[in-house]
């Protein structure tokens, strides 16, 4: 459909950040080419198109590279405006959506890795407390942002759905690897139901990696991180 527009995503399947770009494009029904990044070593294309951070994803549109997943999602929303708005229309609602996106990425999600890297039961318990406190906030945010709808975005998948939804695979990996139930249906019923809904959503399903594949990748990555931190 949008072939002449020449849309490409440079990324890798495990990355939640890459997933965001793809979910957004899927929601907008924009065709794109997915270019799998080599990672080790980083490709010429990556180094040239994202010289500042050298990270995926990079979105290419009309030859222009756009970097940073949240910026990419907003770019997609502002470029393909006739289909499926991603950010809310009202400026206040937009501010709230942006707030939660930053919270999820900067404050809540890092706790998962901390939990996986923790060495003692004490440390784990402390981080788990923070994870649950965050989940409680998100459970409340779901009600405020969603205004009774099935999504953070209300009646349709929106910005926060994409941002948090892209972490679901890794949250499930953390749950399986650690035995910690994060999206506990008893504690956080709305969030748990929402999570199932996201994974079943068409625009997400096609880009959400298979759990066992992620578990394998996660185990390798954890081993590498633990080795690196103990080598210091």
């Amino acid at each position: 459909m949008a072939e002449s527009e020449d849309v490409k995503v440079l990324g890798a399947w495990p990355s939640p950040f890459v997933m965001r770009a793809r979910i957004a494009l899927n929601l907008k029904k924009v065709d794109y080419e997915f270019i799998a990044e080599t990672m080790h070593p980083k490709s010429e294309l990556l180094l040239k198109s994202n010289p500042v951070y050298k990270k995926i994803p990079v979105l290419f549109h009309k030859g222009n590279p756009i970097c940073e997943s949240l910026i990419i999602v907003q770019y997609i929303d502002e470029t393909w405006t006739s289909v499926h708005p991603i950010l809310p229309a009202d400026p206040y609602d937009r501010a709230i959506a942006r707030f939660w996106a930053v919270y999820i990425d900067d404050k809540w999600n890092p706790r998962m890795r901390e939990y996986n890297m923790a060495n003692t039961d004490e440390e784990r318990a402390a981080v788990a407390e923070q994870i649950f406190a965050g989940a409680k906030l998100l459970e409340e945010a779901f009600q405020t942002c969603g205004k009774g709808g099935k999504w953070f975005g209300g009646d349709a998948v929106g910005y926060v759905d994409i941002v948090l939804g892209s972490w679901l695979g890794w949250i499930r990996v953390t749950e399986k690897m650690s035995g910690l139930k994060i999206l506990d249906g008893d504690k956080f019923p709305q969030l748990a139901a929402w999570a199932d809904r996201v994974c079943a959503e068409e625009a997400v399903k096609s880009v959400m990696p298979e759990i066992n594949k992620m578990l394998e990748f996660g185990a390798t990555m954890m081993a590498r991180l633990k080795a690196a931190s103990s080598a210091k």
Binding site: V52, H61, K62, N64, I66, C67, E68, I71, I72, Q74, Y75, E78, T79, P91, Y92, R94, A95, R98, F99, V102, Y103, K107, L137
Partner: protein
């Protein structure tokens, strides 16, 4: 009890040395908006602040008709979107989506790199300090390159990235002293841009005296026992 917020209108909760708060002041002044400025003392945060920003407990918080907006870049966009082109004032973010994405990218870069390296200039010693110095100058040079020959980051008009970065200008003297730097010599184009921005009433009103910022840092270091 100090938590009396007006039902209608704008209130900015901020702290005078905060570059993030300064952004809010510049934005409100640029749009010619009426607002109440409330100073927060960060060693003794008000009940109102804690109620409005319970998660981060930070300034700035913009309150509009009783509703809080947190995070300075989110506040900038909120102001820009709620009062687009008010009184002939230009929009902070450009109209073109690609140009907007670039503006957001550089504003985000400023907060990721400049804030972090700048803070380490006065917190760290030895090797870590040397590392911070290198990163700080590299980041600032990248920004100077991005500015290029344009009068502003926004091109002909003062915009989003200009506000995001000029808010740090009052801290440059402090970075010079703590970093052993000479930003005037190393970044002449950027310093010329700072001068140009300061000619704007919004900026000159918002930026405190750099010497006062340095004194503030000294008292902050004393309070936290940082050498």
């Amino acid at each position: 009890m100090g938590s009396d917020l007006p039902e209608k209108g704008l209130v900015l909760l901020s702290s005078w040395p905060s570059m993030f708060g300064i952004r809010g002041v510049i934005a409100l002044e640029e749009k010619g908006l009426e607002y109440e400025y409330r100073e927060e003392h960060l060693g003794n945060k008000s009940a109102t602040l804690l109620r409005l920003n319970p998660i981060h407990k930070k300034v700035p918080v913009l309150v509009h008709d009783g509703r809080p907006i947190c995070e300075s870049l989110i506040i900038l966009q909120y102001i820009d979107e709620t009062w687009p082109g008010a009184d002939g004032a230009p929009c902070f973010l450009p109209a073109d989506p690609f140009a907007r994405s670039q503006a957001r990218f550089w504003a985000d870069f400023i907060d990721k790199k400049v804030y972090d390296a700048g803070t380490r200039l006065w917190k760290m010693k030895g090797e870590e300090h040397a590392e911070a110095k290198k990163e700080f100058i590299e980041s600032m040079k990248l920004l100077e390159g991005e500015l290029g020959e344009k009068p502003y980051f926004g091109g002909e008009t003062f915009g989003f990235v200009d506000i995001a970065l000029v808010s740090y200008a009052c801290w440059f003297h402090t970075y010079d002293v703590t970093g052993g730097l000479n930003m005037e010599a190393e970044l002449p184009k950027l310093m010329a841009w700072v001068k140009r921005c300061k000619e704007r009433e919004s900026v000159s009103k918002a930026l405190p005296d750099p010497l006062k910022i340095y004194d503030f840092l000294l008292s902050l270091k004393k309070r936290y026992g940082i050498e």
